[in-house]
């Protein structure tokens, strides 16, 4: 539904051109939650803004539902934006207006009547769980509540797409989870396509179906979340995933190891089987688990384990072959 085709975006700072986005191509399907992840300055925010043309591409095209919108101007552009909600890291609410008037403003923009506005705002406040806050000012709300107003405002004109610019980066962990739950519910129940940018892999893991990884303005990876986590291809993605797993071993422990430390990645049904126990029964080896984690992405398990295998070399080699045949991936993590 959203096609970003070979988009480049160049800014001129002083007289130096800066390439924020380089030849990015992304396809977002109808009804999915698509994540764009990367460190700050990677160009992800610029790329997101290209979708509703807050940032016009220097080269390439933005195609939405088969319509090339790259050069939309004036009323045509405003109508396109009315049907694309957007929420922001800093919420960007109008401080001098009440919650009601903030949401009403978005509808006024689209030319709604007062009756429609009154009815719809009540509906929206129910959806985001802010009943009774209609007359509060943003200054009287918590961060999570402000983001809920932002979401209500973004949904006001029945958009088909919701663009989220680091929606949880200004929130604490608990509030982050509740906002992500809300976004997921909106996606599943209303069928609204969501494009979300974040620098946190955890956010991607929790709600995204597919993800693009950006580094220095380039889309370096673009796949399902499970694939990216199971087998990150680009060095930068590997760092992100490792960081998210947090499977670092203390230096002391590594130095004490006389045998290699193996990294085993399980995925799908294998993660629910007892591969290590079976191995220990079958071969004359001692398995020692140093670190491990099983994550559920969507409802798919993905496990990573760091183990040492001790025994005479022949047995070890048989055991390794056996494990390798049953898991998704196995490699030496430390010699």
């Amino acid at each position: 539904m959203i096609d970003i085709q070979d988009v480049s975006i160049t800014f001129t700072v002083g007289d130096k051109p800066i390439e924020a986005v380089k030849n990015a191509s992304i396809h977002v399907n109808q009804g999915e939650i698509f994540g764009i992840v990367g460190s700050s300055g990677a160009g992800k925010s610029t790329l997101l803004r290209a979708i509703n043309l807050l940032q016009r591409p220097t080269a390439g095209r933005i195609v939405i539902d088969g319509v090339d919108v790259t050069f939309f101007e004036g009323q045509q552009l405003r109508e396109l934006r009315m049907h694309m909600g957007m929420i922001f890291q800093q919420f960007n609410l109008i401080r001098s207006k009440t919650v009601f008037d903030n949401i009403a403003f978005a509808m006024k923009v689209a030319g709604a009547s007062n009756d429609e506005i009154t009815k719809r705002v009540r509906e929206l406040l129910d959806i985001v769980g802010l009943q009774g806050k209609a007359d509060a000012y943003p200054g009287q709300l918590s961060g999570g509540q402000k983001q809920r107003v932002g979401i209500a405002r973004a949904l006001a004109n029945h958009p088909r797409v919701l663009l989220c610019d680091e929606p949880t980066s200004a929130l604490d962990l608990e509030t982050t989870n509740s906002i992500l739950e809300l976004l997921k519910a909106i996606n599943r129940q209303m069928g609204i396509t969501i494009v979300l940018i974040t620098h946190e892999m955890d956010v991607v893991k929790k709600i995204c179906d597919r993800v693009a990884v950006m580094s220095n303005g380039v889309v370096v990876e673009n796949d399902t979340v499970l694939n990216v986590f199971a087998e990150p291809k680009h060095e930068f993605t590997r760092q992100l995933v490792n960081h998210s797993y947090d499977l670092d071993l203390p230096q002391r422990l590594l130095q004490e190891q006389s045998t290699p430390v193996w990294k085993i990645v399980y995925r799908g049904p294998a993660a629910e089987e007892s591969v290590l126990t079976d191995t220990a029964h079958k071969f004359q080896v001692k398995l020692n688990i140093l670190h491990g984690k099983i994550e559920y992405i969507g409802d798919q398990p993905l496990g990573v384990m760091l183990v040492t295998i001790k025994g005479i070399p022949a047995d070890v080699s048989l055991a390794v072959d056996y494990i390798r045949s049953r898991v998704y991936h196995m490699e030496v993590a430390h010699e």
Binding site: L77, M82, M86, Q90, N92, I94, R95, F105, V109
Partner: protein, 217 residues
């Protein structure tokens, strides 16, 4: 000081001050806000970006603001003569006062709107709002407290300027203080008029603060 004639003079002077400040402040609001807005929205990166308008507007305002008020008053005497038909009296003085006030307030308006969070403007663009809606529903309400504070500063400055206008026959309280207190060495008259001016300024300031607070959220 218990001279009824002096009391009459004082009341007349007060009325003249009200005229001068009232007229020029009204014009400053009516013309200064659009001018300040124009300066803001023509800045780089904003929706009506226009380097020429921004530079020319800024330059004209700077010329008016850097000219000492007494000089401005004299320079504008021919204009005053054409517009009002005379160069004496509070209405004549209002011409140069208005010009100074519009330029002064326009800058304050611009800097008040500067304080509006750019993210909120971006959000309005993302909703598909027209420039007109961004001005009426975002820029003006969001900068309201700043606009009110700027108005207060302008009004207080105008009370001061209006005393200078008195020198060339504008009248007003400041003029009274100079004529009686300074030229005639009637120190008590001068003191009374100064006290009146202080009270006037205090009232304006309190009212302005009240308005600014009402818009603060």
């Amino acid at each position: 000081m218990n001279n009824p004639e002096l009391l009459n003079d004082l009341l007349k002077a007060l009325l003249e001050t009200f005229y001068m400040v009232g007229i020029s402040l009204t014009l400053a609001i009516v013309l200064g806000i659009p001018l300040g807005l124009l300066l803001y929205i023509t800045e780089k990166g904003l929706f009506a970006e226009n380097k020429l308008v921004n530079l020319v507007g800024g330059f004209v305002i700077n010329v008016i603001r850097s000219t000492p008020y007494v000089i401005l008053l004299v320079l504008l005497l021919p204009v005053t003569q054409r517009v009002i038909g005379t160069t004496v009296g509070p209405f004549a003085a209002s011409v140069s006062l208005s010009v100074a006030a519009i330029a002064f307030y326009a800058r304050l308006v611009q800097s008040a709107i500067w304080e509006v969070d750019r993210g909120v403007i971006e959000a309005a663009h993302a909703m598909g709002a027209t420039p007109r809606m961004i001005i009426t529903d975002v820029l003006l309400p969001e900068s309201f407290p700043g606009l009110m504070r700027g108005m207060t500063v302008t009004a207080v400055s105008l009370i001061g300027f209006s005393a200078m206008a008195g020198i060339v026959g504008g009248g007003g309280v400041g003029d009274l203080a100079i004529r009686f207190g300074y030229y005639r060495y009637e120190t008590d008259v001068m003191l009374v008029t100064v006290v009146v001016l202080i009270i006037l300024v205090q009232c304006v300031q309190s009212f302005g603060d009240y308005l600014a607070k009402r818009g603060q959220r």
